[in-house]
Amino acid sequence: MNAELRFWKSVDELRRDADDGAAAGRDCFAGQRARTGPPPAVSRRDFLTLAGFGLAAAAAACSRGSVQKAIPMLNQPEQMTPGVASYYATTCGGCSAGCALLVKTRDGRPIKVEGNAESAVFGGGTCASGQATVLSLYDDARLKGPLWRGQPAAWAEIDAHVSSRIAAAAAARKRVVLLSRTILGPATRRLVREWSSRPGFEHVTRDAISYSALRDATRASFGVDGIPHYRFAGASVIVGIEADFLGAWLSPVEFTREYAGRRRPESGALMSRHVHFESGLSLTGSNADLRVPIAPSEQGLVALALLHRIARRHGGFEVPEVDESSLDAEALDEAAEDLWRARGESLVVAGAHDEATQTIVHATNALLGNIGRTVDLDNVSLQKQGDDAAFDRLVEDMAERRVDVLILYGVNPAYDAPDADRFAAAMARVPLTVSLADRLDETAARADIVCPDHHFLEAWGDAEPIARHCSLAQPTIAPLFDTRAAQESLLAWQGRTPDFYEYLRAYWREALFPAQDRYDSFDEFWDHSLHDGVFARSPRPSNEHRFEGDCARAAASVLRARAQRAAAGIGYELHLYEPVGVRDGAHANNPWLQELPDPVSKVTWGNYAALAPALASRLALADGDVVAIEAGAQRVELPVLVQPGQSAQTISVALGYGRTRAGRVADGVGANAYPLAQSSGGGRRYIRTGVRLARTGRRDPLAATQTHHSMEGREIVKQTTLASFLESPAGGADAHADLPNLWAERPRGEHNWGMAIDLTACTGCSACVTACQAENNVPVVGRDEVRRGREMHWIRLDRYYTGSEDAPETLVQPMMCQHCGHAPCEPVCPVLATVHSSDGLNQQVYNRCVGTRYCENNCPYKVRRFNWFEYARNDRFDFNMNSPLGEMVLNPDVTVRSRGVMEKCSLCVQRIQAGKLEASREGRPVADGDIQTACQQVCPAEAIVFGDLADPSSRVSRLSRQQRRYRVLEEVGTRPNVTYLAKVRNA
C-alpha cells in the first residue's frame, strides 16, 4: 500500500488516472484506503514464519515487503496542503430542492458533503440522497466523453454537426425542442430563455414525478405561477393528505428542519400537532400525532370533508355536503377543530396529483387565513415547473414528425414516463436527438448524440429554489472525465463562447449585484457569495391573496371521481410514491442509497408491494411472496411486504426502481412502477383504482434490516403524550435513579464524550445512516448479505410498531454504539482489541482484532458489525469499494477495515482527534460544539447532540439532565454514554 498520497499534477493526469483503471487507482488512491492488517503478502509471510517455519523463514521474514513510492506534485498550488481538508460552498444537485452545501475536499477530492449553515432556509442539515450525491460523482457508469451513435467522438465535430443541424432546422422553420427537467438556476433559466426565444426553438420542462396539478391549482386559485412555499415553522397544527413532506415531497430538508423545530415538548403549548391522512405508511405519516389510513381515491373526499367543516365554522362559504360513510368522521372533526383553533398558524398540505383536490386544499388554507403566513405565495418555490400537458403535446408532435431536433437535458422519459414506450417510439421519429445525460441511460441510449454533462460537484452553477433565495455552485474538483457543462453545450450550439463561468458572473453582475447594497464592487460581492454559497435577498412582503378558485367545480370533480370509483367497484387501489432513498430513480445507481433501509419498512435493495396485514392474511400472502400487479394493460411483479397501517384495499409501490440502464449497481434491482402511473387529463396520476393482484407462486425474500417489529413490552423507546408530559415532566425518568457501582469509579480523563438523542425531534429520515457511511468508509454489502442480516451500517434506526396492526403508532430510535461506561464487550475480548479510552470512548482497534465475535455476542444493543468478507477490492462485492474511481470517495482519516475484524460506531473519533488537535494548536480548551459527529451534523431535525459530559455546561450535559432523559437497557448496568430523550406525542 502507498501510505503517502499521490497528487495529480494536472487535470489531464487525473483524467488519465481515472480512465486507466486499476493500475492508476492503485498508485493514485491507494493511500486513501488504509488497511487494518499488514498488506496480504506481508501478513501471509508473517503467518507462515510464526507457524513455525523456523530460522530460514524467520530470516526471510526480515527481508522487506513491497517498496513504497511517494510522488510529490510537480507544482503544489498555494491553497492546497496535502492531507488538509478544505471546504467549498456549493448547491446540491441531488433533487430540485437545491439545498446549500459545504463540500469537504481532501487533496482535491470531494469526499463528504454537509449542509451549509449559512443558509437560513436549509440550515446545516442534509438528506440521505444529498449525502450520497458525492458518491455519484465517482460512479463508474458515468460517460467518459461524448458519444456519436454510440462511438466516442470529439467535442468539436459534435458541435459542428449539431450546430449545423440546428441552423438548418431553424432555416427550414422546423422545430428545435429542448426538453429539460426543472431548471433551478436563474442564470441557466435565462440562458434557456434566450435559447428558446428564437423562432422555432422551444423549451419544455418535465419532472420525473409531476407536480403540475399543484401548480395549476395554485395558478387557478391565486393567480400565482409557482408552488406555494410552505412554512412549517409557523404551523402549530399541520394536516397532511398523502404528502410525504418529511420524506420526499418538494423540500424535505427544509420541511424537516422547520417541522422538528416545532416538536419540542419543553416549549409546551408551542409544540405543533400533526394529523395525517394517507394510504401507505410514509415517513411523514409515521411521525404524525394522529394518522388516519385512507384509500388513495379518498384524498379529494378528505380534503372536501375538511373544507366542509372549516367552512361551516367560518361561514359565508358554500361547500356541498359529502357522503363520509367511508371516512373517519371523528378524526376529521378533530383535525378541523384543531385547524380552526389555530387559524392563521395552521397548515394543510396535500400530495394529490389532482387539481381539484389541491384547489380544495388551497381554499381550506385560505379560509383558515394561512395564506401569507404558513403558505407563502409571494416568495414561491420555483421547484417542479414541469408541465405535463406540454410534454404530452411534445410527444404527440414527435410522433407526427413535427420535431426536427430534440435535446434532452436532465430528463429520462424513456424510463420514467408513464407511457415510456410511446415516448421511445416517438423519439425514433425525431431526425436528431441529443442527450446531455451523464450516463447512457434508458433515454440517452436511444439518442443519436450524447454530450455528457458534468456532475454538479464539477460544475459552475446557481440555484433559486425559492424566489429570492439564491445560491451558487462551484466546482470542487476538476472534471474527472471529458465532460462538458450542459449550459456550455447550449452556448456552443448557439454559436456563443462556451464559457458558462463568465455567463454566470455576467448574470449575477446584472441581475443580483444591484439587488444588494452590502458590497460596492462586484468582485467583492461575487467572492463573498461564492464563499458563503448563498445570497438571500430580503423576501417580498406578503400582500393580499384572495382565493378565486372554483371550489364548486373542484368539489364536483372530486365527487365525480368518487362516483367512478364506486362504479369501478371491485379491485384494489394502487398508490405509487417516491421513496426516500433513490427518490425518482435518478440516484438508483448509488449503492449507498440502494442499501439505505427504507425509513419505515426497513427494506433495502428494491421496491415491493405493500399490503395491509388483514388483506395479506386474507390472500394468504407473506413477506417475499411475489405477486403480479395488473393495472389496465400494465403488469408488474413485486415481492409482498406486509405493512401495518396500510389502508385496507390499497397496494403501495415505490417508484424509482427497476432501472435497466443506470449502471451495474441499479440495473435489475426492483421493478419499474412508472408504467403503472396514468396520464389523464393532462396530468399524471400516481394512483390507480381497479387494480388486480395475482400470486405468481415465486418467492423473492426481501432484504430487510429489521424483521421483528414489536417492542415485546420492553421499555426501549419511551413514549408519553404532551399532556401527561406537561403535568409530570419527569414521567418515569426518575425511576432509573443511578444504579450502584460494583467497583470503584475509575479516574476519568479530561473529557467524557457522550451523546443525547431527542426521540421527539427525530423523524427517522435516515440521513444519519448515509452520512455515517460516507464519513466512516462503511462498506456496502449488497442485497444477499443484507438478507443474511449482515448490513454494516454503524448507526441504524430501529423502528417499532405499537397498537393495532391497522393503525399502529410508529416509534423510531437511532441506535449506535452506546459507548457504555461498563461496556460488556470489553472484558470478553481475549486480545484487548476493544478497550475504554481515557475520555469515555469504547474503542475498537481493528488491527488488533482477531475476530472471535465474542464482543458482538455480548453487546446488548447489537451495534457491532463484523467484516464477514473482504468488502474492499473484492469482486464478490462489486460496489464503490471495488473500483479505483469509487475508492476516491473514501475518507483518508478512517481505516478501511479488512476481512475478519469487528467494527462499530467510534463517535467519529477522527473528528474528535481533529477537534482536539485544532484546539491545542490554538492553545485553548475544546469548546462545546467544536466537534460534531457526522450523524449530528447531517441531522436536519437537530435531534442528535454530541459533546463532553465532563463539562456540566455543555449542551449534551444539559440535555442528559433533562427530565425526558433515559438510557436504553440502563437496568442491565452498562452505563451508556448515550442518553435518549423520551418521545412525546401531541395527542
Partner: protein
C-alpha cells in the same frame, strides 16, 4: 564393569512375593524384581520406601501458581492498566482460572519429568532385561553376586522352595 546376577523367574506373583520376603528374611539383598505389571505387596516385601514424587508435584505446583499469579498482576496492574469495561485493574477473581490451569500444568509436567529422570527412562536407551518374558508373562527376582556376598547354593534352594520356575546366572549389567 559387568557383574554377575542370580535370576529366578516365577509364574505366580504371590509366589514371587513370598520368595522375596523369605530371601530378605535370610538376609540376602534383593537387587531388583522384574514384572509385567505392578505386583501388590512387593513394596513391603522388598522394603521400598514411599516415592518422593509427591513433593516434586507440590513444589512445582506452588511455583507455577505463584509465577502465573505474579505475571497476571504485573500485566494487568503494573505494566499497562487499561480500562476494560470499567473493571478494577486488579480483577483478582478473573485471574484464578488461568492460575489454576498453570498450576496443574506445571505440577503435572514436572512430576512426569521427575519420574522419567529418576527411573532413567529416555528415548533410545537400551533395556536391561532380566529375560524377555518379564514384560510379558513372567516375574523375576535378581540377586547381585559380589565376592563373599552369599552362598549361591543356599539362595538357589531358597528360591526353588518358594516356587521359582527357573534359576539362571547371568553375567552382564542390569
Amino acid at each position: 564393569m559387568a557383574s554377575a546376577y542370580l535370576i529366578a523367574t516365577f509364574a505366580e506373583p504371590r509366589a514371587l512375593v513370598d520368595a522375596v520376603a523369605a530371601i530378605r528374611a535370610r538376609g540376602f539383598k534383593i537387587y531388583d524384581v522384574y514384572a509385567p505389571c505392578p505386583v501388590h505387596g512387593l513394596d513391603e516385601a522388598m522394603g521400598i520406601r514411599r516415592s518422593r514424587l509427591p513433593y516434586v508435584t507440590l513444589v512445582a505446583g506452588v511455583l507455577a501458581c505463584a509465577a502465573t499469579v505474579a505475571f497476571e498482576f504485573y500485566v494487568a496492574v503494573f505494566d499497562w492498566a487499561l480500562n476494560i469495561g470499567g473493571k478494577p485493574d486488579n480483577s483478582t477473581l478473573a485471574f484464578v482460572p488461568i492460575a489454576f490451569e498453570m498450576t496443574v500444568l506445571g505440577a503435572g509436567l514436572a512430576t512426569a519429568a521427575a519420574f522419567l529422570l529418576r527411573a532413567g527412562l529416555f528415548p533410545g536407551s537400551a533395556p536391561k532385561l532380566a529375560g524377555p518374558p518379564v514384560t510379558d508373562d513372567t516375574f523375576a527376582v535378581a540377586l547381585r553376586w559380589r565376592p563373599n556376598a552369599f552362598d549361591t547354593g543356599e539362595a538357589r534352594n531358597l528360591l526353588i522352595e518358594n516356587g521359582a520356575t527357573d534359576i539362571r546366572q547371568m553375567v552382564g549389567d542390569l
